[in-house]
Subunit: 111 residues, 2 copies
DNA sequence: CGGTTGGTTAGGCATGTGGCTAAGTATTTC
DNA sequence: GAAATACTTAGCCACATGCCTAACCAACCG
């Protein structure tokens, strides 16, 4: 267990296009920090910073072997975020359904 | 490519516990700014700021009638976020499936 | 009209974020 | 062991965030 991701850090990690691009990239397979940096027109330290934010959000797990740090996606975090959003949306829709019933004049709801 | 210009603001809006609490609150029905403020132990201007962040992220729509501003949830935004996450997670799982096939020594994949 | 209510604007402050360069560390590789 | 590689750390800077208070509208209420 590397990181118990909290929603603050998780959503914060996703709130940046560079980091979302990294997530997409890692969706196709693990990559080193340097590989992540290549398409990014950004210095290596900045890339590393982003990786660390992703790690703090639990989205990415990294492992250093030799001098190369390999990053891979941690899908549980994505799943957690998805679940949070889905639950809120589901609750909203349930409410709308009841409202719809009410507006339809469904008097049977009383009995 | 699937870089909707407002995913930044959307996820940023969700990356704060106060704002997520507001989203949950609004999931139970519309509320005025003051009503949103009540459980929050925070000054009204700060609350308003959060509301504006939610609005910028498309999560909330507000309407001012008389002197009271009513806020309500905009579920399309939640849906957008959910979709983005789901697509990435689906892609990842597809990859893992293929990897599983490969590791199972399924040579037929070549032919 | 005058006061109260509900929100808004303005401005200030501490901290966080995202970027950089320069210099350091730890592995290969020669 | 020197040089190249792949990060990593440290330090700096500009701007954004999240909070506050004080002052300012704009409805309502009487």
């Amino acid at each position: 267990m590397p990181n118990q991701p909290n929603l603050d850090q998780l959503f914060h990690a996703l709130a940046d296009p560079t980091r979302r691009a990294m997530v997409e990239r890692l969706g196709h397979g693990p990559a080193s920090v340097g590989e992540l940096a290549q398409p990014l027109a950004m210095s290596l330290p900045s890339v590393l910073q982003h990786v660390q934010v992703l790690e703090a959000g639990g989205l990415v797990r990294t492992e250093k072997v030799g001098r190369v740090r390999t990053c891979r996606l941690e899908p549980e975090a994505l799943s957690l975020a998805e679940r949070w959003i889905h639950e809120r949306r589901a609750g909203w829709e349930r409410r709308l359904d009841r409202l719809g019933d009410f507006l339809a004049g469904d008097d049977d709801l009383n009995g």
